[in-house]
Each structure stands twice: as C-alpha cells, then as structure tokens.
C-alpha cells in the first residue's frame, strides 16, 4: 500500500504551542521517494516544531500528515510511535542518544522495535558497524558508551541510528550546527550518499543556507515571531 505513496505529505497543517502564539502553518508539502528537501528558517521560526509534526511527537490542530502513506493524524500515540520507528529515521537537534549505552547499541536500538527495518538488515550488528565506519566513526569507538564520545562523534552515531534499516524518510534537525565548515561538508556528503544509496527521502531543517547546494529543493520558513505580543 505504501510503495507508491510519497514518503511524506503535509496538507493544510496548523499548529500552535498555545493560544496566543503565532501558529505554524504548512499549506502543502510533499516529498517524493528519494527527494532531498532543505527547510531554511531563522532560529525560533518553528523548524523543530514542524519536524515534531512530521515524525508524530506533536499532533496538528488541523490538517493531515501522512508518512509512507499512513495518516499520522488518525493514529493513536502508540501507533504513531510504531510508524515513526518503522518509516522515519530521525537525527534530533539534541541527538537523543542513550548516554550509558554503547554507540553500537544506540544504533541497533532503531531496529529493536521496527520489524520491517530489521528484516531489511539481516546482519544487524555488522550493518551497524559498517554504517558507523562509513559515517566516519573509528572502529574502536563503536563500543564506547555514547556519553563518552565527542559532540561530532555523537552526531555520527545519531545519523547512523537514523539511517540503519533504510527507512523511507530521513528527518534531520540542524545536524551540522556543531561542526566546523570542513567537517560540515564531509558529514553532509556522507549522510546524503548513504541516504541516496538506500533510497531514503530527506527532510532537513537548518538556518544555514550554505547547505542548499546539497538539496533538490529548498523551502523558506518565515519568522515565527509575531509582532502583536511583545509582553510577557
């Protein structure tokens, strides 16, 4: 059912954190299979919020979000967790690695509750090691606990976790913000080539327009700040 559906589609989505805040509106956004889209916007413009709506930790007030053909807005929280695990690889802005678990286990965790992704990855441990190596994490660091790794290394682990098992959609929230210019480019190339290899679509948000050259399409988000409420 989902093989022909777009990786992601948002239509008429409206969300606001509270009644007074300026709502985030996304009239129409569709990502075809394998498409790479960059969303640009200044800090506070609602980029992370939008991604939350995409991978289903937030629910829009109105509108529809479908991921790999599944209507996220019609599902229970638990089913949304399932769809996300199965079809979306997420690189969070705060990485969200389990600090006491090894880098390898953090990557493998993405397969643990996603049977289809696991099926696509027959030799999970080798696949995870290779993925980490491909993304530039030294072999010796794969068994160290994530909390002991440098920020750049953690970023690679988070990317490997998002990519393993070839999810239909890769979602990344400012994945390069803590890297220097040279590493930024190298990291983007690694992630993009991996995603391309396994046919994952990419939705990446950033405030950095220099990333635009890597993408098929760029979407600008307006400033989320509303001018009418300046007082607390």
């Amino acid at each position: 059912m989902s093989s022909s559906a777009p990786a992601l589609s948002l239509s008429n989505v409206v969300f606001s954190w509270d009644r007074h805040a300026h709502p985030i509106q996304i009239p129409n956004l569709v990502l075809d299979r394998g498409e790479k889209v960059l969303v640009l916007g200044p800090s506070g413009s609602g980029k992370s919020t939008m991604l939350g709506l995409v991978y289903g930790t937030l629910v829009p007030h109105s509108g529809r979000v479908t991921v790999a053909g599944q209507d996220m807005t019609a599902l229970s929280a638990r089913r949304r967790d399932g769809v996300r695990a199965e079809h979306v690889g997420v690189i969070f802005q705060q990485f969200n690695l389990i600090p006491h678990a090894s880098a390898l286990d953090n990557v493998l965790l993405a397969l643990r509750f996603a049977p289809q992704r696991r099926k696509r990855t027959p030799d999970a441990e080798d696949a995870a090691r290779n993925m980490l190596a491909d993304l530039g994490l030294p072999e010796t660091d794969a068994c160290r606990s994530a909390g002991q790794l440098s920020v750049g290394q953690q970023q690679r682990v988070a990317a490997a976790r998002a990519l393993i098992g070839s999810p239909e959609l890769l979602v990344a929230d400012e994945p390069t913000s803590s890297l220097d210019r040279a590493n930024q480019n190298r990291f983007m190339d690694l992630v993009l080539s991996q995603a391309q290899q396994q046919g994952s679509s990419i939705l990446l948000v950033s405030h950095d327009e220099r990333l635009a050259k890597h993408f098929d399409r760029v979407i600008e988000m307006g400033s989320g700040q509303s001018e009418d409420h300046m007082s607390c």
Binding site: S48, G52, Y55, T57, L58, A77, R78, D81, G82, R84, A85, E86, V90, F92, Q93, Q94, N96, L97, I98, P99, H100, A101, S102, D105, L108, L109, A110, R112, F113, A114, S145
Partner: protein, 412 residues
C-alpha cells in the same frame, strides 16, 4: 540488548542502585533474623523439659504449676504430702518419680531440693541429659550443685562454701549449716542454669527444728533415713507406656487423699507460649515495618531514576518501544534490585547466624534451628518481590505520562 541496556543504566547509577539493594538486603535480613531467633526461642522454650510425662503438684492452675516447678517463677500455693508421692510412685504404670522441694533461695537464685535421680531423669532439648561441667552430683548432706549462671554470676568454684537463705528474697540465712559446692552444671539454656540443687535430705536437715533467729538445734546430725521429708512441692513423673499417661493423670487429678494436679509438660508449655506469643507478634510487626520502609526507599530510587531518565524513556518510545516494553524494563530493573537485595539479605543472614550458632548457644542457651527459609520466609521474600514489582508501576506510568516531545527536547 535490552537487558544490556538495563544493566548499563543501572551501572550508570551505581551508587543509588547499590544503596537501594543494600537497604532491601538489610531489612530482609533483619526480618529473617527475627524469624530464626523467634523459632529458636520457641524451640528452646518447648525444649525446656522433655521425657517427663507428668508434673504433679498441689491443685492450682496448670500454667502456675509449670511456672513454679520448672521456670522458678511465682510460688506454690501448697505442698503435697510424702504419702501422696509414695502412692503415685507405687502405681504400676509409673516408671519413675523425682520429687522437688522449693521455697529457699541463694541470693537472686532459687534453691531446689531433689533426689539424685533428678540428674538422670531431667532431660531437655529432645532428651538431652544435664551434664556436670565440673565436679559431681551431691552424695551427702550439705552438698550443693549450682547451675552455670549461678557459678558465672557469683564466681563460684568447686569446694566453695555457700549459705542458703530461708524463703525467697529473705535476709534470714541458714548460716549455721553452710553448703559445699560439689558440682557445677553445664549450660542448658533452661531455668536450671539459675538454680542451686541440694538433696531433699539436706533441705529437711536445715529446716528440722529450725526457728528464725535461734538457728538449728545443736547436737548430733540426724541420720539420713530420719531425714525423710513429710512434704514436697512437686514431682516429675515418668510413665512406662505413653498409653497410660492419661489414665495416671486422671487418677492423680481425682486422688482422694488431697487435691492434686497432674499436667502434661508439652501441652502446658504450649499454653504458656501463647502469652509470650504477643511479644512475638510485636517483633514480627516491627520487622515488617522495616521491610515496608525499605520498599519505600526502593520506590524512591526508581522514581528519582525516572526523572533522571525522562530522556532515556522518551528515546525508547521514539524508537517505537510500546508502553509495555518501557514498563517491562522498569519492572525488570525493580526485580533485579529486589532479587539481589533478597539474595544478599538471605544468604548474609543465614550465613551469619549459622556461623554464630555455637556462640548464641553458649551465651543465651538458644540453639537456632536453621532449617533454611520455610514457607513463611518464602512468602516474605515473594512479598518483597511482588511489592517491588507493584512499586515499579508508578514510575512506569509516570514515564508514559510525560510527553514524548518534552522528553526528546530536554536541553543538555
């Protein structure tokens, strides 16, 4: 991998986890120790006297009779006559009879007049006979054998002379007739440890013709045969066949000569234990409260863990873990902690008590039974595990209550 996650998570919080485990271990150990000591006390209490089939005395309450003849507590209401003794001893069913005469004291200890047969017939702890630690039983007038507590408290040695006081807690001494200590009993853990044993004849001798203040009449010592007492306080009776015990008991209880009472020691001990059982319940209540406190401590540890680990729980959910899985992880963690606590507590306590068993016997005369955890103990351990499981529901529920979006956007 999930087990590995639990273990690494626990390792990351090693200090609090170890503290929680120790709290559980300590409280479980405490309850188990209380149970072992209680069983031991009960057993040695029940073992105070054995192989005696009937205790006979003047008619009063059965518990009262038991208390003053065996436990040296309270006073006899009446004596019984020597004729009655002889009548009972003459019954064909009666195998042996050891008379006991009470009423005098030595310091804080009671003096018991009895026959030499007492050393042979009095048994405790399933038929164990009382042994002499030093010296020998009395063979003559004015010989005394003292219990181990008496010797230890008053620093008595063989050959030392002691004076018996008339009545209990009295200042009137039979100081004209000092006794020589010929024997010191081994520790038995029974009230015998606190007794001074003399022969019935000696008992009779110090009282014959004796008036307070005037002392005993002077002149030659009477011959042993003349010192047959006219009255004694009680008697221990052995019956040849178990089947005859109730017959003899009925016969004694309806003895026409004087009002007598014969009681079965085992039954009366049980009756007596019921009074003491109240203290037993109190002990148990206290130890259960300790376990309760330990469980609360464990809940607190798990709960504080949840707040520390909001992000971890959110990550698991983000990766598709169902609520059951998150709950299962917390449950398993609680089980590991409670299990480790129970194990350490049980092994530690039983090991320690086992090692200390001879010491406890020597000091308190309580031989701990130590037959491992019985049904009550297993129920307790099971209860601790179950409570730990229940306790983990709260943190698990809380982990799911916290919104996923919040859990994932905790800033570090």
């Amino acid at each position: 991998m999930l087990t590995r996650l639990i273990l690494s998570s626990m390792r990351a919080r090693a200090l609090t986890v170890v503290l929680a485990i120790l709290t559980i271990a300590f409280s479980v150990g405490l309850v188990l120790a209380v149970n072992v000591v209680r069983d031991g006390t009960k057993a040695s209490f029940a073992n105070t006297i054995s192989n005696t089939d009937l205790i006979v005395g003047a008619r009063s309450g059965s518990v009262q009779l038991m208390l003053y003849t065996i436990f040296q507590i309270g006073n006899p209401t009446n004596n019984i006559s020597w004729d009655s003794m002889e009548a009972i001893a003459a019954r064909p069913e009666v195998d042996w009879l050891v008379p006991i005469s009470l009423g005098d004291s030595h310091g804080e200890f009671r003096v018991m007049g009895t026959s030499v047969a007492f050393f042979d017939r009095y048994r405790y702890r399933g038929g164990q006979s009382i042994g002499l630690h030093q010296g020998a039983a009395f063979t003559d007038l004015y010989h005394a054998v003292v219990g181990s507590d008496v010797a230890a408290t008053l620093n008595y040695e063989l050959g030392q002379e002691i004076v018996v006081s008339h009545g209990l807690a009295s200042f009137i001494d039979h100081d004209d007739r000092p006794f020589e200590i010929t024997g010191i009993l081994e520790r038995t853990g029974t009230p015998l440890d606190r007794a001074v044993l003399i022969s019935l004849e000696s008992m009779e001798a110090i009282h014959r013709g004796w008036r307070p203040g005037a002392g005993s009449p002077t002149g030659p010592e009477p011959a042993m045969a003349e010192l047959q007492p006219k009255e004694v306080t009680a008697a221990l009776v052995g019956i040849g066949s178990r089947l005859d015990i109730f017959n003899v008991q009925r016969w004694i209880n309806t003895y026409p000569g004087e009002p007598l009472l014969a009681v079965l020691p085992g039954l009366t001990l049980q009756e007596l234990w019921q009074f003491i059982g109240v203290a037993e319940d109190a002990l148990r209540a206290v130890s259960l409260m300790v376990v309760g406190a330990a469980l609360l401590g464990m809940i607190a540890v798990i709960f504080s863990g949840v707040n520390e680990r909001r992000r971890e729980m959110a990550i698991l959910r983000a990766m598709g873990a169902r609520p059951g899985v998150v709950f299962g992880l917390l449950l398993l963690e609680a089980m590991i902690m409670a299990g480790a606590g129970c194990l350490i507590g049980a092994v530690g306590t039983y090991g320690l008590l086992y090692a200390a068993r001879p010491l406890i016997d020597a000091h308190f005369g309580i031989w701990l039974p130590m037959q491992g955890p019985g049904p009550e103990e297993l129920k307790l351990l099971g209860g601790v595990m179950a409570a730990a499981g229940l306790a983990s529901i709260f943190p698990a529920a809380r982990a799911y209550q916290l919104s996923l979006a919040d859990g994932l956007s905790i800033k570090n």
